[in-house]
């Protein structure tokens, strides 16, 4: 009965040419895709499709670093979720008193987020003179394969709801463990680093 009425609205989406989907996704937020997925079963399939979420991933600006990780997640949607939850944390974080070594940079690891504390050390007049920076890992948080539980265990996620995460909530600032454990390559911190006030 209601079939013909149905047909019209859905037909619009099914007749969308393939070339349109990327343009469409580029102008939408991930929330819009989620809303679309709640319309009906057919649109859920469309709104969960990798074509659309691949574009969403590239909008985050982090895709080039994460492309190789895609096979380890169930979909581009999961990857996008991971990147979106990781993005606000990336960058350089400075605590109230940087002299005490509370200088942390956060970067993408292999499907994880790695934070390293830079240990206070003598800086010559021309900088570090090529010496490696001493650092200590603060935390590493791994994504789950389906991206379902996101980046953080629930308790820490609660804490991160704050607009500006305080890294000392993850780890009290002790400086006795300078062992880098080989996990964190001395990469420069990413751009777009939000500094806490």
């Amino acid at each position: 009965m209601g079939l013909k009425v149905d047909w019209c609205g859905l037909q619009l989406f099914f007749s969308l040419p393939d070339d349109i989907l990327p343009i469409l996704s580029a102008s939408l937020l991930h929330r819009d895709l989620c809303n679309l997925s709640l319309c009906c079963r057919s649109l859920r399939i469309l709104a969960f499709s990798d074509v659309l979420w691949h574009i969403q991933c590239s909008i985050t600006g982090l895709l080039s670093r994460a492309t190789s990780r895609r096979p380890f997640l169930s979909s581009y949607r999961a990857l996008c979720r991971f990147l979106l939850s990781a993005r606000p944390l990336l960058g350089v974080w400075v605590h109230d008193n940087p002299n005490q070594g509370n200088f942390v940079f956060v970067m993408l690891g292999f499907l994880s987020l790695i934070a390293c504390r830079v240990i206070p050390q003598k800086v010559g007049p021309t900088g570090f003179n090529g010496d490696p920076l001493l650092r200590a890992p603060v935390f590493e948080i791994s994504a789950e394969s389906d991206g379902l539980h996101g980046l953080l265990p629930p308790r820490q996620r609660e804490q991160l709801r704050l607009p500006v995460p305080r890294f000392c909530q993850f780890h009290p600032p002790t400086l006795q463990s300078p062992a880098p454990r080989g996990r964190a390559p001395p990469q420069p911190p990413l751009l777009q680093s939000p500094l806490p006030p």
Partner: protein, 159 residues
């Protein structure tokens, strides 16, 4: 008329829609379509070019928008106006929008492809599932359990 008619100037191309109506279009406008361009390059377009997949009312819309698009190139006001028309069309007549989109795809007109995609994006942007369903007359075929499950799976996006 289209303002882009310079060196190629006012050669007129004759096109025939699927329902037999004949259109006379300036070459500069017709060449926006890569399909027609290819046909002309292959020299199989000396007489009337048939367009078996496009009906007259839709083809009329396509030409109209091609012209508008050519006019708006350096006119921000017009650009805005053209962009806002899409939401109206999608709200009032999604079926025509759908046909227009198919025709644009068939004729392979890049500029209108971007425009129609933009229209749909603008239309979907920020709308709740209920509103989208209502406007596009889509039936909700989820069971309450399924709906709850997807809501749960989407929760991260709205946190």
């Amino acid at each position: 008329m289209a303002s882009t008619s310079n060196s190629t100037s006012s050669k007129i191309i004759t096109l025939r829609s699927s329902d037999g109506e004949v259109f006379e279009v300036e070459e500069s406008v017709a060449l926006e379509s890569n399909l027609i361009r290819r046909m002309m390059e292959d020299d199989c377009a000396n007489n009337i070019i048939p367009l078996p997949n496009v009906t007259a009312p839709i083809f009329y819309l396509v030409i109209e928008h091609c012209k508008k698009h050519a006019e708006m190139k350096d006119n921000k006001e017009k650009k805005k106006e053209l962009r806002s028309q899409g939401e109206e069309l999608l709200k009032s007549d999604p079926h025509t929008y759908s046909n227009l989109m198919e025709a644009v795809n068939y004729l392979d007109i890049k500029s209108l492809m971007d425009l129609t995609a933009q229209w749909l994006a603008d239309f979907l942007k920020g709308k709740s599932p209920r509103l989208i369903r209502e406007l596009l007359k889509i039936k909700n075929d989820f069971t309450p359990e399924e709906e709850a499950e997807i809501l749960e799976r989407n929760r991260w996006a709205f946190d």
